[in-house]
């Protein structure tokens, strides 16, 4: 967790250093309000009880965002893959597939800040049991990005996924994951 926080702090500092030049840009957000497609990769971390069982690893995913009738609100579709192994026999692999609403914070700042929340389904496989299934999931998170030209955005995204299993009678835990990622996306 400490590594992720440090990584984020460095990234924020880098972004702020570059933001001086970006302030000179005019209306860079005009391009931002187009439909977007992107990819991300970064450290993915299981939380709580699960953190004692499996290790942090690298995950990656892709997403698409489409405009709504409200300019600062987009609808997004995400999918990703992450596999957590351990020194012991335990292993967890998840593939979240979800839709979300992405809200652009209307700040007069060259860096774009977005908040998002969504729901969907998540494919979960566990070892050593070798069982897999689809579970309902919820997610929320935030993003910050700056434009690199008219077409590209470079940013950092953080997602908190809750893979919901507690609705089952004999379930004691949900699956909780924090995914951080460097992201690159295009304004179409």
């Amino acid at each position: 967790m400490k590594k992720i926080i440090l990584f984020n702090l460095i990234l924020i500092s880098v972004l702020l250093v570059f933001s001086g030049d970006l302030l000179a840009r005019k209306k860079s957000t005009d391009y931002f309000f187009r439909p977007q497609v992107g990819i991300w990769f970064g450290p993915v971390t299981p939380m709580f009880e699960l953190a004692d069982q499996v290790d942090t690893s690298l995950g990656a995913g892709g997403y698409f965002r489409y405009n709504t009738f409200i300019q600062s609100l987009k609808i997004g579709f995400d999918s990703s893959y992450q596999s957590h192994s351990s020194d012991s026999t335990s292993e967890v692999t998840i593939v979240p597939v979800y839709g979300s609403l992405v809200y652009w914070l209307p700040l007069n700042f060259p860096i774009n800040f977005q908040l998002k929340a969504g729901t969907g389904a998540c494919w979960v496989e566990i070892k050593p049991d070798s069982v897999s299934q689809w579970d309902p999931m919820f997610t929320f998170g935030g993003e910050m990005s700056f434009p690199a030209g008219n077409r590209f955005n470079i940013g950092l995204r953080i997602d908190y996924h809750v893979i919901y299993e507690k609705y089952m009678d004999n379930a004691k835990y949900n699956g909780n994951f924090i995914n951080a990622g460097l992201t690159l996306y295009l304004n179409l």
């Binding site: 009880e49 967890v92 969907g120 299934q133 689809w134 309902p136 379930a171 835990y173």
Partner: protein, 312 residues
């Protein structure tokens, strides 16, 4: 837009109410396997302590594996009190060792234990245990056993890892709850060593050399660690009663002498937790040293039911 959201919520709702799902995250956090360590020869009904001089036995285990799978890879230490029959390590109850599940459908035949330290007090030297100095001697590193011919099958004398055969080949089923019992023979198996090599304290306590005699002046005391392993599925066990001081059961066709400690041993004539679905040979002995087992009586539990009691 609205249609998308409605569709999304419908899919989630559908999944929410699908009833075939299992709680997978609960499954991975909780284990279906319980690993129990005991310091006794008997799996149930252990005999009382004979008078002993050391009062403490300290055990430090790095890891326990089954057929090479690291299902119990967390290090654990145990400080046990020898002269106290209420200590769970010696009264038959056992102490637990943290572990994960095993691979579904895989067949397991042996347990490998990685002992780091075994310490008895009652000597003058200082040893590190649980990152603190304690009075006692760690004899584990001197349990090296040298033999004239290298016999690959003779695992009993190696302590890192110490390989212990299971009573039968177990095909692990993720839907069952198992108990794996590992018994390190500490109780009534202690000897004072004097006049040993100058590197060793004088005197010190370790396991008796009844298995492999240790010569005076020798630096090594290997070949005397005796460990047995038993595994059974909960709700798939029977009870066997046979008159005698010590009774033991091995799978039909095997012999108690195949094991350093037979898989199921009772000190009171009642063998508990005998797995059904197998046939067992039940032996009787007047003492608890090996080789003293008489002729067996075969008890076929192939078609037995959970909770059956057989008297022979």
């Amino acid at each position: 837009m609205k249609k998308f959201i409605i569709l999304l919520f419908s899919i989630t709702a559908f999944l929410l109410f699908s009833c075939d799902n299992e709680p997978l995250f609960t499954e991975i956090v909780d284990s279906n396997l319980q690993l129990v360590l005991k310091g006794t020869f008997e799996s149930n009904g252990p005999k009382a302590w004979n008078p002993v001089t050391p009062t403490l036995f300290m055990l430090d285990i790095a890891e326990i594996e089954m057929n090479g799978d690291s299902f119990a890879n967390k290090r654990a230490t145990y400080l046990t009190t020898l002269n106290n029959t209420t200590d769970p390590f010696y009264n038959g109850a056992g102490v637990s060792y943290p572990c994960n599940d095993l691979y579904n459908g895989k067949v397991y035949s042996k347990v490998q234990i990685y002992f780091r330290k075994m310490i008895f007090n009652g000597t003058s030297v200082i040893t590190t245990f649980r990152e603190k100095d304690v009075q006692g001697f760690d004899f584990n590193e001197y349990q090296i056993y040298t033999q004239a011919d290298y016999d690959a099958e003779n695992f009993n004398n190696l302590v890192f890892p110490l390989t212990v055969p299971l009573p039968y080949n177990l095909k692990y089923d993720r839907n069952k709850y198992y108990v794996l019992e590992i018994r390190l023979m500490v109780k009534n198996n202690i000897q004072q060593y004097t006049g040993m090599h100058v590197d060793l304290p004088d005197p010190f306590y370790a396991f008796t050399d009844s298995e492999s005699a240790v010569a005076a002046g020798s630096k090594y005391i290997g070949g005397n660690v005796r460990v047995g392993a038993h595994i059974y599925a909960e709700n798939e066990v029977a009870t066997i009663n046979r008159v005698g001081t010590f009774i033991c059961a091995v799978e039909t066709g095997k012999n108690p002498s195949d094991y350093a400690v037979p898989p199921i041993v009772s000190g009171n004539g009642t063998l508990l937790n005998v797995p059904i679905g197998h046939s067992w040979d039940v032996y009787v002995s007047g003492d608890m040293t090996r080789g003293g087992w008489g002729s067996p009586v075969t008890v076929d539990l192939t078609n037995a039911e959970n909770g059956d009691i057989r008297n022979i």
